[in-house]
């Protein structure tokens, strides 16, 4: 009968559509282990720290180009927000953190597949508005009373790094604001509200002409190490691991170095 065929077709279409709209973790492949290494296929979701936005977007594109049949979905946020999402069960396949403290939370919760790999480092740099209105030249200048300095709050990775440098140099900054994310610090410098801010080297490079950067030697006192790991319960574990490997590979490292990241 025409109606039975029609409804069967409709059912089939619905089923296919549903399968297609399935969450990122589901792949078109049945759950058979991919024995062969040729033709990686699958979709992975990568949770990455906000400071990795530019580089990871590029790395994802390169990876997809090199491995047609794979799709890399990216989710950028503050590292601790990502940790919260992961521990509460958000579907992620790879996690790249801006510091080891947050990565430890994930490994301690036994959510990591294997050991985390350090793939980049970042150090602090002073960012000032174009023209350097307050005439900052060194880290010590930041402690001058008239300069409006904005830093990250000690609770976040860039703030912890700031505090470490302060301790090491004995210079105590009195900031006018302690932001919760390095993006907000950068924003205040770009808008001219702040005379100077402590951000990452990569942020200064990414901001281009919007800010001027002032490097300082003491930045080596606080090096931020970025680890990455594949996560358990991934629906495409081989793709996930392949991506992690790619980040650590020469090609991946070059992208990171171009953005200003240091070697791990």
């Amino acid at each position: 009968m025409k109606t039975t065929t029609a409804s069967a077709a409709l059912f089939l279409a619905l089923g296919l559509a549903l399968a297609g709209c399935a969450s990122n973790a589901e792949t078109a492949e049945p759950a058979e282990p991919s024995a062969t290494t040729d033709a990686l296929e699958g979709t992975i979701t990568v949770f990455a720290a906000a400071s990795l936005k530019g580089t990871f977007t590029e790395l994802a594109d390169d990876f997809e180009a090199a491995n047609p049949g794979t799709t890399v979905e990216l989710n950028f946020a503050g590292s601790s927000d990502l940790v919260t999402q992961i521990t509460e069960g958000a579907p992620a396949d790879v996690f790249a953190s801006a510091d080891e403290k947050n990565m430890a939370k994930v490994t301690d919760a036994a959510l990591a597949e294997g050991e985390p790999v350090d793939f980049a480092t970042n150090v602090l740099e002073i960012a000032v508005p174009p023209g350097n209105p307050a005439g900052i030249e060194s880290f010590a200048d930041l402690a001058g009373s008239d300069a409006k300095v904005v830093v990250c709050a000690p609770a976040v990775p860039c703030g912890a790094a700031t505090a470490a440098v302060e301790t090491a140099t004995g210079v105590d900054i009195t900031p006018v604001s302690e932001e919760s994310s390095v993006t907000d610090v950068l924003g205040k410098v770009v808008s001219g509200e702040a005379d100077a801010g402590l951000v990452y080297v990569t942020d200064v490079i990414a901001a281009g002409d919007a800010v001027e950067g002032i490097e300082f030697d003491e930045s080596d006192e606080a090096v931020n190490t970025y680890p990455v790991v594949a996560l358990k319960d991934s629906a495409a574990p081989d793709v996930a691991q392949a991506f992690v490997d790619y980040i650590a590979s020469e090609a991946g490292q070059k992208v990171l170095a171009d953005a200003g990241f240091g070697t791990p």
Partner: protein, 267 residues
């Protein structure tokens, strides 16, 4: 009449569902509270500083909302001029504007390079990174609540009593003081309380415009935002404090609103 008071069952069911939708997340949050550490967490130096700052700034913002919101509501409700509809839409804009966008706009106005901020800098007045900035941000987002609430009540009350007052010899200010405002007092009060609640919870505009420094600009919501990085327990505990304050404030508003109808203030 039954408990439902004539409301159809399916309507009551939908209402229950809606209520559940609001209450469940609160309940879920409460189950995560670390009760053992609760008191030390909310009485820590940073927590107390944040709470006191929040209360201070919200009260100041509410006062500003009343001082400016009442005249705005009066003009919108009573005066008749071209472009009134547009003005009303603009005044209500902060309601739909994402607070972060509001903060950016305030920055472009009062920031060091801002429209007005520039001139203020020259005069030696800096608003950025100050408690004043927090109050401004809170006032910006909370003002429409008061204006809306009051304008509605002013329209309902109408102008007849005011006309009578005028014929009895009361000048415009006396009419306002002794007739108009007393008549809409319940709406004014509930509007002010709503504004207070909104100011208390304000986050996006404060973050973008005022910055975050303990005791100066780090209000309770900002403190919660920061604490969630290192101590989710503190964040949840402080959130509970905020919820309790909000519940008390809103409950008070409702009480004042209904008892304020003494002798049928609005008929």
């Amino acid at each position: 009449m039954t408990v439902l008071g004539g409301v159809p069952r399916w309507v009551a069911a939908l209402a229950a569902l809606g209520a559940l939708f609001v209450v469940l997340p609160l309940a879920a949050m409460i189950t995560r509270v670390n009760w053992a550490e609760f008191l030390p967490l909310i009485t820590s130096e940073s927590s107390v500083a944040a709470l006191l700052l929040s209360l201070r700034t919200s009260l100041a913002a509410t006062a500003l909302c009343v001082v400016f919101g009442v005249p705005m509501a009066l003009v919108l409700a009573r005066a008749r001029f071209r472009g009134q509809k547009i003005l009303r839409a603009l005044v209500l804009l902060p309601l739909v504007l994402p607070p972060v966008v509001g903060g950016i706009a305030l920055l472009y106005t009062f920031g060091r390079r801002g429209l007005i901020g520039q001139s203020l800098e020259v005069l030696g007045v800096t608003i950025a990174f100050s408690t004043t900035a927090v109050v401004l941000a809170q006032t910006f987002v909370a003002l429409p609540f008061l204006v809306l609430s009051l304008e509605g009540a002013l329209r309902t009350v109408g102008t007849r009593y005011e006309a009578v007052g005028a014929t009895l010899g009361a000048g415009p200010t006396t009419v306002l003081r002794r007739i108009t405002l007393p008549l809409v007092f319940p709406a004014l009060l509930s509007g002010a309380v709503l504004s207070f609640a909104r100011a208390l919870g304000e986050f996006g505009a404060t973050l973008t415009f005022a910055g975050s420094l303990q005791g100066t600009t780090r209000t309770l919501p900002l403190e919660i935002y920061l604490q969630r990085e290192t101590s989710p327990d503190t964040a949840v505990a402080l959130s509970l404090v905020l919820v309790v304050v909000a519940v008390i404030v809103v409950g008070f508003a409702h009480q004042a609103g209904s008892s304020g109808l003494r002798g049928g203030a609005i008929r």
